[in-house]
Symmetry: C2
Subunit: 355 residues, 2 copies
Amino acid sequence: MTLEDIAEKAGVSRSTVSRVINDDPRVSKETRARVWSVIEGEGFVPDPLARGMVTRRTQVIGVVIPTSLSAIFRDSAYFPTLLDGIAKVVHSRDYGMLLWIAQASEEEQLFQQRVLKNRLMDGMIIASATTVNQRPFIDHLLRLNTPFVMVERAVHRSDQVSYVTIDNLHASQDLVSHLVKLGYKRIATITGNLDNVDGQDRLKGYQKALEQAQIPYDSSLVVEGDFSSQSGYEGMKILLQLPCQVDAVFAATDLTAVGAFQAITEVGLSIPGDIALVGFDDLPHASHMTPQLTTVWHPIQKKGAQAAHVLLDLIDGTLASPQHIQLPTRLVIRDSCGAVKRQEVNYKTNGTSLV
Amino acid sequence: MTLEDIAEKAGVSRSTVSRVINDDPRVSKETRARVWSVIEGEGFVPDPLARGMVTRRTQVIGVVIPTSLSAIFRDSAYFPTLLDGIAKVVHSRDYGMLLWIAQASEEEQLFQQRVLKNRLMDGMIIASATTVNQRPFIDHLLRLNTPFVMVERAVHRSDQVSYVTIDNLHASQDLVSHLVKLGYKRIATITGNLDNVDGQDRLKGYQKALEQAQIPYDSSLVVEGDFSSQSGYEGMKILLQLPCQVDAVFAATDLTAVGAFQAITEVGLSIPGDIALVGFDDLPHASHMTPQLTTVWHPIQKKGAQAAHVLLDLIDGTLASPQHIQLPTRLVIRDSCGAVKRQEVNYKTNGTSLV
DNA sequence: TTGAAAGCGCTAACAT
DNA sequence: ATGTTAGCGCTTTCAA
């Protein structure tokens, strides 16, 4: 079934059918109605390949989840939530979504090549990247003039790159300041992946909070993790061995907090009695734990949705690059920081908006 | 950059370049080498649209996550793990993956139409469906002769449909039989979505285990859920109100078990002391809980990988539909069923293979 | 072993 | 308001 077939059945030329399909005003009411009825009757859908060939548009965008973080994809609700937000917008604007998930075993470069080689995409969303490896990738995209949006603060060529993010630094700073205010003295942190801007900024926030409270920075209280729960578990083991007793821990993500939680529980210590624990993200994990986790909520789904909107607008030409969007976050105080005792707290009712 | 450009630079015709790219043997060694060097030198990649236009192949498959379960997508590691398995194979076989996630608010029919309308896919993987709504969808796919694979036992036109699944019925039966053997008398279940075959089969397994143990079936011990943790929470609340004391609960998925866990903990009861709790899936949740959850492990990632292989083979013509593949499962006995006390158990060392 | 030419199904410029 | 025509960049006959 082609345009030609429809044209014949409707007694018009194929250009007229094309015009009807593309809502070209230069078609009479009667013709339009007649053609539409044939199209509907036959259940005709124009071939996207043929159409793409001439318009140079595929109505497909790519969503890239790179090596460094694809393992986290499975264990945390972060990426699925982000994808959900992206999908919502992408589908409503009649686009498809080509998903690229890097394999753990694979060279990052090979992965990038595979993605870059695919010419089916009108643009792409980069759902996280390392500050080092993103460079050649981004340079390539810029050179090809492919529209793209990052879902974190761009550090490389940031003046030319669009992104949607949150203020990781200040959100973390406020979270750690909250611990300071509660009287904790030996506050440790298990960081995220420090190749990643989000990880870097969360560490900076921790440092700033201590600095502001005039607590001297102690590098032995900083353990490098990678956003995974395993790194939380192992990081916490290290912190528990320290001669000086740690009294509070900031895990760079809720998933990491889950790992730390397990390590703390295993040695028979209690939260927050012996050690306070806070996370970041407000994933479902956070409210399913006992005690419930104090954390930073941020609009993950909306982040995805915004990124999709920006990308699609960039593709449409409605918007010009670069767009730098920062979404608000919120400190969610629950039980694990020791601020509230024996009382259910839910961010919906108790959230303190800080941004 | 087109074939023509390469052809000119290499001093051959565009058909020859096409032959080189497609590994046609009818090209001399010398010509082949010369053409390749130009291709590489220019970083040329043939346009997939133009190519697809003539071959009727896009090197893209669709992965469909329908309405009924897209909410779960965010909260459970199930779909991400499945996607990871699919991606692994799909990418290694040089295919792309168009992801279709239904929106909660959206009509199921509209969603199906959107997916069906996209003619960019060579085939699709249906990652779960309701037994009712899958019918028109599957009929349509069959009519169009589109290759597709389901990731659950097909009930509609199963003789013509390929699928990759596990034996939900016997796995559940063995799990509940395990509870019976431990001496539990009033075993309840919070089911999965009963519109879904996996949910149905897990309930049937529960019923069979009781029947085999000659425990009379009590419908008040069966609460209908939908795979979500919230349904576990709410279902457990109902079970806790029952006049007769429930002593064990089979949640149709680990996520549901997490919800039930919370409800049990909230009223001050202990697991497994007061109530035993078992789940299904062996998601990361299961081993992160305290006590760790007794559950059924199944190869989710492999299920995705197999489905992808079958689909790609179907597209290649290497395989003929229908393929019915059943993957093995394993009962994972941990602490929450009360079989083991104060001792760490990991399925890697203690898993009892049942299939 | 290579080249010339037709054509996949559509859009868009041009003609009427 | 509608039809005619020329491609988009490939693969694939058919000829040589």
